[in-house]
């Protein structure tokens, strides 16, 4: 379970898919960073990631870590967002045995983790099959 403060700091990325585009070389970073690894630029402009893309690769988690055991088996995919960067996240609302490289998916707002029955709930993004 990630800490409350970290989850709170990451709200712009987890809730709204906000990335940073380097003002010098246009490289996009998600999550944002302070220095561009390509051109050493330090000026960035906020950009919102596209919410659809294509599965580039994926794995099926069958032995899940603590906090995710009830969800196994579940898929985690690297998705190439349309005209943008790659993002890794769970793919849900699908039969993992039928998931395939090249499948179209879109981002959806979901619960990601919760600290037991009494703790805080962490929300974020997952991928679902595109309609």
């Amino acid at each position: 379970m990630i800490g409350l403060a970290r989850h709170w700091r990451e709200i712009p990325q987890r809730y709204r898919y906000e990335a940073a585009r380097c003002d010098k070389c246009s490289a996009v970073y998600f999550p944002p960073r302070l220095v561009c690894s390509k051109c050493r630029g330090r000026e960035f402009t906020k950009t919102v990631l596209p919410q659809t893309g294509k599965v580039e690769t994926f794995t099926v988690i069958r032995v899940a870590p603590t906090g995710f055991t009830d969800e196994a088996p579940y898929a985690v995919a690297v998705v190439k967002l349309d005209d943008s960067i790659r993002v890794m996240a769970q793919v849900v609302d699908c039969e993992v045995e039928k998931l395939a490289i090249g499948d179209r998916v879109r981002l959806e707002f979901r619960k990601v983790q919760q600290d037991g029955e009494a703790g805080a709930i962490c929300y974020g993004y997952k991928f679902v099959p595109e309609a």
Partner: protein, 349 residues
Amino acid sequence: MEVGIVGYGAYVPRHRIKVEEIAQVWGADAPTYKKGLRLEEKSVPSPDQDVITMSVEASRRALRRAGVDPFELGAIYIGSESHPYAVKPSGTVVAEAIGATPNLHCADLEFACKAGSEGMFIALSLVKAGEMKLALGIGADTSQGAPGDALEYSASAGAAAFIMGRERLVAACEHTFSFTTDTPDFWRREYQHYPRHGGRFTGEPAYFKHTLSCARELMKRAGLEPGDFKFAVFHQPNGKFPLTASEELGFTREQVQQGLLSPSIGNTYSGASPLGLTAILDVAKPGDRILMVSYGSGSGSDGFVWRVTERIEEVRSLAPQTWAQIKDRPVYVNYGTYAKFRGKILKAS
């Protein structure tokens, strides 16, 4: 100046469970439920879905249709009886996720199945009063039904969101009316996992008295009759009650069919009549009049008369339509998976 709906959005989870699947576990007679309550199947939220996640998705769809900057929203109200937290608002998470914070008013509402229309009513009223330019009202639930109880066949999940404003309306609100009494037909006490209800008492003195009284008084005050409406949508705890109510009021089956979702997705509680309204807006033509009457146990009904405008044609295809979502590749689950999804299995701590 006219006020009304600027944008609307609906969200229905993809998982479903059939009446037969629930009935065979409890030794009940499925045809009796299907015929008696006019229910076929219901939507089931997956473990990573709740009122907040569905509200975010419905609100994003409403924003797409409204074509407004979320930062311009002056208020957000979420009506539900299944807010994920007992103390901590759902609305703040939704407001943050859609990019509407921090300059807005926010509140979570609860009034059994009427909480969604309450949110719509308050949002509409604040805009009408000139307090704000735009306000968001949401009805959403992942409703609870005790294992083996009659409610388990209907208690389902869904969300509908409406952005109220004064300009670029898709439906103008012509009249509103609310009818409220103290009627103990259904409740859930604090710390209780499942609600209790008064069985047949939930019918005549509760649902029908409030729904019919609200609809009749609203139409009387508006000077309208059933024939003046193209569509009508009522709270739908099952498929039978809204049809009986509409017949008593003098509406035809054609007027209510489009907004009658409960036989296919069950009772989405606070989302029920608001979701029915989204399904109607998906097909309504400019000039069509819609009667909407919610019902919440405890008890009360909110009534609205909506008149659809020309702009509906421009916006309805900008987000997933309600019946299309209901029919889009539903994933059927067995009772074991349903029980796991809904947290009905007692695990070792």
